[in-house]
Assembly symmetry: C2
């Protein structure tokens, strides 16, 4: 059994193409011998964004802090603290922090995609 908090997890800046102002933490993942899931947390600075992309894995998200937009294909949808999101495999998407405070969200994936 593991109990942890974000302030105990390493923060790694994301250098992937199409990303701006984003760091990644992994509270629960492969190094914890998690059977199925990795729980990543992304923090986007105001103006920051993830890539506008699609992939084989789904995302299961929960917005911990802040607000912004999620591109559903090319259509922006508003997201904010307390939202739960399922992005299905191959759905093109992008998270954008359009607010003036950090946008912090859980992004759980099958551990192969950690």
């Amino acid at each position: 059994m593991k109990i942890t908090r974000l302030d105990a997890c390493d923060s790694v800046p994301i250098t992937m193409e199409g990303v701006m102002g984003a760091v990644k933490q992994v509270p629960i993942g492969q190094t914890d011998d998690s059977p199925n899931f990795s729980v990543r947390v992304f923090t986007l600075k105001p103006g920051g964004h993830t890539p506008h992309h699609n992939h084989d894995s789904e995302h299961v998200n929960y917005i911990i802090e802040g607000s912004g937009e999620l591109l559903d294909g090319d259509k922006p949808r508003q997201i904010k603290k307390g939202d739960f999101i399922l992005v299905k495999p191959q759905e093109r998407h992008q998270y954008r922090n359009t607010g003036d405070t950090p946008l912090v969200f859980i992004c759980a994936v099958p551990k192969e995609y950690e």
Copy 2:
């Protein structure tokens, strides 16, 4: 792509043996055609608890609100808003709300265990 919030999800009281003062919501699950995960949210009233049990599935948790104890086997560990928890398969556990406000937590599982 699904975006939802707890106030849009049905709340179902849990009548399972060993449970007190608990309701369940499922923001993301089998009816959403989720490929792998179901995201359940449990709310325990002050004094409420889940069963003291173990099972084949892991739990991946995030504490949204409140505080309490998580029995790790028979040992109580303190939990509070912002904690991430991995309960591995067959680890005996029980969530207890020992605070005076609701204890609200995400409990993600493989969808077969929804």
